[in-house]
């Protein structure tokens, strides 16, 4: 079971992402459990308390924006290796570039299809598994 943290301030969008990722039962494919965060702060609350195999975050959020979350995670010992996907509007090119420069692994432009999201997250998850830095809870 892979656990994905979804950071997004729209509840309908969260529900969509959850459904897209969780209702994804295929033979031989690891199931995904989605944990929702409704704001950047929620994400900060949740991050130290669980192991996440991937984080999907919106960019445009009040208070702590997605870029700041990316920056925070990349600077943190425990989360610097967690695969990170940012979702933003097609037009917000500059925000996207900044996100990637800060260390996000991939981006998706809204609106996207459930399939696209799955494929991207799947790619990030397998990269995370093969890759070097596993993510862990803040113990120690």
């Amino acid at each position: 079971m892979a656990r994905v943290l979804v950071v997004e301030d729209s509840s309908a969008m969260r529900a969509f992402v959850r459904a897209a990722l969780e209702d994804w039962a295929e033979e031989g494919v690891e199931a995904i459990e989605v944990v929702e965060a409704a704001s950047g702060f929620d994400a900060l609350r949740l991050l130290p308390r669980g192991t996440f195999d991937c984080v999907v975050t919106d960019v445009n959020m009040p208070d702590i924006n997605g870029l700041e979350l990316v920056n925070f995670m990349r600077k943190s010992e425990h989360h610097k290796g967690t695969p990170l996907l940012i979702i933003s509007t097609q037009s917000a090119e500059r925000d996207r570039e900044r996100g990637l420069a800060l260390g996000a692994d991939a981006w998706l432009a809204k609106p996207f299809e459930a399939d696209e999201l799955r494929a991207t997250v799947r790619g990030l998850l397998s990269r995370g598994r093969d890759g070097s830095a596993p993510t862990g809870p803040t113990t120690g």
């Binding site: 309908a12 929702e36 445009n60 700041e68």
Partner: protein, 737 residues
Amino acid sequence: MDHRDEFISEAQEIIDGFGRDLLVLDATLKSRDGNRGPVQVDPEIVNDTFRAVHTLKGLSALFGVARMSTLSHHLEDLLDDLRLGRVELEPKVLDVLFRAVEVYGQILSALRAGEPEPQRAVEELLMSLDGAVSRGAGTASNPLADYDLDPGLLGVLTEYEEHRLRTNLAQGVGLYVLRVKFDLLTIDGALDGLKTKAKPHGEILTYLPSGEPGDPDTIELDVLLASRQTLEVLRLELEAPNIQIRPVPRRVTKTPPAPPLVESEPPQTVYGGMEPRPRKTHLPSAPMADEPPETPIGGAMVRKPSKAEEEQAEGNAQVGFGLSIRGVAQTVRVDIRKLDHLMNIVAELAIVRSALQRMTDRVRADPELRSLGLEMHRLSRSLDRHLGDLQGGILEVRMVPLGQVFDKLARVVRQISREHDKDIHLVITGAETEVDKLIVEELSDPLMHMIRNAIDHGIEQRKTRLARGKPEVGTIALNAFQKGNHVVIEVEDDGAGIDEQKVLTQAIRRGLVTEQEAATMLPRDVLAFVFVPGFSTKEGVDELSGRGVGMDIVKTNISKLGGVIDVQSEPGTGTKMTVTLPITLAIISALVVVVAGRRYAIPLASVLEALVFEPWALRTIEGREVMSLRGQTLALCRLEQLFGLPSPVTEELARRFVVVIGAGAQRLGCVVDQLIGQQDIVIKALGKSLESVRGFSGATELGDQHVGLVIDAPALIEEAFTTSDGRHAGRRAGSEV
């Protein structure tokens, strides 16, 4: 996977918020003095409108709501320009935005009804969108170039945040960094506290969480604040043991090349380059960790957990995780039909409870089973209490603040007053008063009509007002408050008032009263004529409410909700319409009566009056029993005959009553044996098998272990008339005992 309902309700919420923000912006524009300087609008509000439309765009595209998506796309462009200062906020821009709120509303209504999105409204709006925007001004020079800001800082700002930073710097506003430390569990409240305190002093540009590995329960943030205040003032106002403030100096001199955009080297605050002195060794958490806080703001808790606590926290990682997730989703959207269903179950349980209570009484009456009976009685009492709590709980969930509909009215006032070139000040009190959601939804049309009336017929033209010594700006007050089991909404204007004489003249002309009657009428009764269909004293017919239809529809709509409307007016001073509504539709007030030993409930909304039955006053017209009521003929109905119940042997022996019920213009006198009194009831729908039975809207628990049928007045009246016409007489006769 159908999240469409979720989408619709979230979209509705966003649109409501969008509309509220527009009203704030509108107020800002209006407050601008006569001299047309640049408007100081709250950038946060403008950004909120952008974010609202931005979210709508994403959502509608996701859910395949194409026109809403297109519309949002165009609006987003406009709002993006607004928030980035490329377009100035003007009244005509606001007009278009307000119209967008209406069009969004139309789209959502169409979606709810399963209809296609309105095409014309969207297209027209898109056209006017193009017309309203004059992008000119061009962006100002780049103030950031003059400052040596750390590119690391720019790296985490969204385009909008960067724009706000630029704007503030260009205006010579100072920059400060607040290093704050919050407990993660209480951060929302703490942050709100900080925002509230900081708001009067400047603009918070962004919050940067520190990447330092700290303890898992607290978080350090660098809050970037743009403020014109001096450091001393800010320290005095904002500083707390968990909040440290330092200024970010403005360096106009160019410095050596900035560090790379993304630092991969040791943890460092992202804009360390802005430090006044090279204090790069300064570890952000160091100076604060050891100081126990004395007065943390906003409930923020700053406490260094002991080693033992830390260990325990780690051991409980899973538990903590669960807690946090609960914290995320504290509200759920629920379809109101589900609540209706729950209420129906409660009503059913109440009926079961009555049966149980009756059995209990039988058991208690048996001397051998007395102790068992007592036990049952206790349990039944407890069930009673919990059932009451459950019912109360469900009712509470249905309640929403009236503010929802008031916001909509504020937009209408703005729109109509512009169309009419009348300045109107809308004063709202009691927006937090809560009413059943269904009532709130049905209220907006009648209230809107009342407000249109007030603006159209009530508030005078500017010149007239000045001539009458009134303030140029008219006032409409919208007051809501709770009064017992009812909610009262008043719509009061300081306009011309209603001319009683004109109303009377019109009433006489239309034959509603004779001149003799008119001479002795009370003012209250005279004003009641405004609720007569087609009644209008206004000579001309205009765009708004003056077509002579309106107030009667308002009255009908209010009655449908079980409410009443009343009008008071003082010529020259103003008019006050008072709407009194039940708090919920799930519970109704009913008159409980007895017919042939059985109890029935008649909804009070249908009861006109109750009188003592006088058999000697009966007459028979066309085979139907009638009596005379204040000079008018009232058809009577013997309920026991209609229901096929045994008739009382001699009716002269007992005092009986006539309950006059009404539906529309029809009235019917129902002969009943006894009036028990008024009671609030929850109606339980009759099951499928009884669906075809006419005259009843359901069953209810009537207290004292009685279950009774609830009379559906309109259906009963229809049934009574068709029966006495003889069409159903055969069937009825057969069932009579």
